[in-house]
């Protein structure tokens, strides 16, 4: 090997550890999954290669179509709300004061809980017999509502639970971004007679635009993978109204043993997340170029 070639390839050793894990844990399973999705397979092995039959069956399956819609609906309920609420909390709590530090910790605290604890708390809040929501409803003189058994309210309830659980991440990302904005820019804006609203719109938001995009992309990817909350709170009901794609994959694969069919559903979810994240990224980078 010549000297230059050796120098060029010696750098590869620094990448190898990461690359090995990446290939072994992500690329290989992805390929196996792709192959699996084109077979009729169960836990005892692959029975036969059937091409795109699994995908054709998926798109004809009303339950699967319902889970795709549910997932989109959930993403729509959570991602904009998390971005907005996270941003508002960060704006309010971006102070040196002690009360702000305490509240930052309080709002972030829910993030460290496991999905089991979070759903347990919210089931206790939402149950119509003696739950917190029911107590409040009675106190203001209205009938308690069975949030998790009403088809129209179940998914919004799951969404509220999720926002409460996950609001810490967007909040700290926004806080970090806000603290990066140089203080003298705000001082220049104050001398430029900018109102609070004008400062927010013309100085703060443009300065943290990259973080806003980051939060949206991260949250889209996270929320498309909704699973534990409906599994534990509603079991996917009532009438499939809270059944997301991942729960469908789980049940098809590990309860009905249709591994090929479940793998095909996974590929669809993968494509959906990739398209949604890329669309968001493309949209915001196009705006930046303009």
């Amino acid at each position: 090997m010549t000297d230059t070639a050796q120098r060029r390839w010696s750098g590869a050793w620094f990448v190898v550890p990461y690359l090995a894990v990446f290939v072994l844990m992500l690329v290989v399973p992805l390929i196996i999954g792709l192959r699996l999705s084109m077979t009729r397979g169960d836990l005892f092995g692959i029975k036969e290669f059937i091409g795109f039959a699994n995908f054709a069956r998926l798109f004809a399956d009303p339950v699967f179509r319902q889970t795709v819609w549910n997932t989109f609906y959930f993403v729509l309920l959570t991602v904009p709300a998390m971005t907005l609420i996270g941003l508002m909390l960060a704006l309010v709590l971006n102070h040196q004061a002690r009360w702000a530090a305490i509240l930052r910790a309080v709002f972030f605290a829910s993030t460290v809980l496991s999905v089991t604890v979070v759903t347990l708390i919210w089931r206790l809040v939402l149950i119509p017999e003696g739950g917190l929501a029911a107590v409040i409803a009675k106190a203001i003189g209205t009938e308690p509502v069975a949030y998790l058994s009403e088809q129209a309210l179940a998914m919004p309830s799951v969404a509220v639970t999720t926002i409460w659980w996950g609001i810490g991440l967007p909040m700290v990302l926004f806080l970090a971004a806000l603290q990066q904005v140089p203080r003298d820019i705000y001082e220049a804006a104050a001398l430029d007679n900018a109102s609070r609203m004008r400062t927010l719109l013309s100085i703060t938001l443009p300065s943290i635009r990259r973080t806003i995009v980051l939060v949206i992309v991260v949250e889209i990817i996270l929320q498309f993978q909704l699973f534990g909350q409906p599994q534990l709170m509603t079991g996917g009901g009532p009438n499939n109204s809270t059944r997301p794609v991942v729960l469908f994959i789980y049940e098809t694969g590990w309860k009905q043993w249709q591994l090929g069919y479940a793998a095909a559903a996974s590929q669809v979810l993968f494509a959906l997340i990739a398209i949604a994240a890329m669309a968001q990224y493309w949209f915001s980078s196009r705006k930046e170029a303009a």
Binding site: A188, L191, D192, A194, R209
Partner: protein
């Protein structure tokens, strides 16, 4: 154009005083420089005038109107920041227009003012660029243009040249002086660089330990420093300070150096007491290298050739080091014995509390 009056203003950060009972009158159209070492409170004083810091006590007036209770944007002042503080996501044009739009200046006038300021500061080709695409010097011009377009009653500069390289700093200094002449506006400029202060100021306000130490024209500050601090802070090389005992000769002060040699000064003796311990202040140009027959004798230790003049660090027999001046074409070598002649008419004398006596009137 507007005058500025600071009346007994004070400011504390917790227990630490930052500005201690400062009063100052600035004439309309004057170029005032706040000069002082880091941490003396000069920037805080400027920021109090801008409205970026609150005033604990006292009042600030601009053009006869009390402004210290107004928000920064309502004070009709413009500020150029040390780090420029341009809005990074806006073009240069948007940066200049931002304040005018907030003040609801009509669009046509905004465009005209931007055009004028851009021409004046030679940034017209940069108007559609963003600050990130500009060099430090260009950003500085944009920051100055952003102040000019507002046509403020008062310009504030917070160490605006400290981020520029030496050549650009000198050029921008000259341009700022020209700008002041053209606009005739009242300007307050904060710096710790005495060269900037000397070259730009109509009057210098020397600030030391949260108080005003001296107010005066650059030459007053240089020739008649009010205290030992001012004398040692202003002037390059640093003024020579020598512990002396004083005596009276013909009504003037005779200073006796530690090695026993004497320097006769033009400082009137009246009010001083013979034998008192004081500090003699001599600038390098008041100590000339002469022949070996001159008054004091010593040995050249270090010779700094500056081209137009030569600075010689001379050790007196008792080890006292003095900085003296020689001609630019001096051939003096380190180690050579030298005689030095002191211009007693340019001497200063400082009491133990730092107060000063000068030749001429006291």
């Amino acid at each position: 154009m507007a005058g500025v009056r600071l009346s007994r203003i004070s400011k504390r950060f917790g227990d630490v005083p930052v500005i201690d009972d400062v009063s100052l009158d600035i004439e309309a159209g004057e170029f005032i420089v706040f000069l002082g070492p880091s941490g003396c409170g000069k920037s805080t004083l400027l920021r109090m005038i801008a409205g970026l810091e609150t005033v604990d006590a006292g009042g600030i007036e601009v053009a006869g109107q009390r402004i210290d209770h107004l928000p920064p944007g309502a004070r009709n002042v413009a500020m150029v920041f040390q780090q420029y503080a341009l809005y990074p996501h806006m073009t240069v044009r948007e940066n200049l227009a931002f304040g005018l739009r907030n003040a609801r200046v009509p669009a046509g006038e905004i465009a005209q003012r931007i055009k004028d300021a851009a021409q004046r500061l030679e940034i017209s080709p940069l108007l559609e660029r963003r600050p990130g695409q500009l060099s430090g010097g260009q950003r500085q011009r944009v920051a100055i243009a952003r102040a000019i377009v507002k046509k403020p009653a008062l310009f504030l500069f917070d160490e605006p040249l400290s981020n520029l390289d030496a050549a650009l700093r000198a050029r921008t200094r000259v341009e700022l002086a020209q700008l002041h002449q053209q606009l005739g506006a009242t300007m307050i400029f904060v710096t710790h660089d005495q060269v900037e202060a000397m070259t730009l100021a109509d009057r210098i306000v020397v600030i030391h330990e949260h108080r005003i130490e001296q107010i005066g024209t650059p030459m007053e500050i240089y020739r008649r420093p009010a205290s030992q601090f001012v004398a040692s802070f202003v002037g390059t090389p640093r003024i020579n300070l020598i512990a002396v005992k004083i005596a009276e000769v013909d009504g003037k002060v005779l200073a006796r150096l530690p090695d026993g040699s004497t320097v006769s000064t033009g400082i009137p003796f009246a009010g001083l007491s013979a034998g008192a311990d004081m500090t003699l202040g001599l600038r390098a140009e008041a100590i000339r290298i002469g022949d070996n027959t001159a008054g004091l004798r010593g040995t050249a230790r270090v010779v700094e050739r500056l081209g137009d003049r030569t600075l010689v660090h001379v050790a007196l027999p008792d080890g006292t080091l003095l900085t003296a001046e020689d001609r630019g074409d001096s051939t003096l070598q380190p180690g050579e014995p030298v005689g030095i002649a002191v211009d007693g008419g340019a001497a200063h004398l400082f009491a133990a509390d730092g107060t000063a006596c000068h030749a001429g009137a006291r």
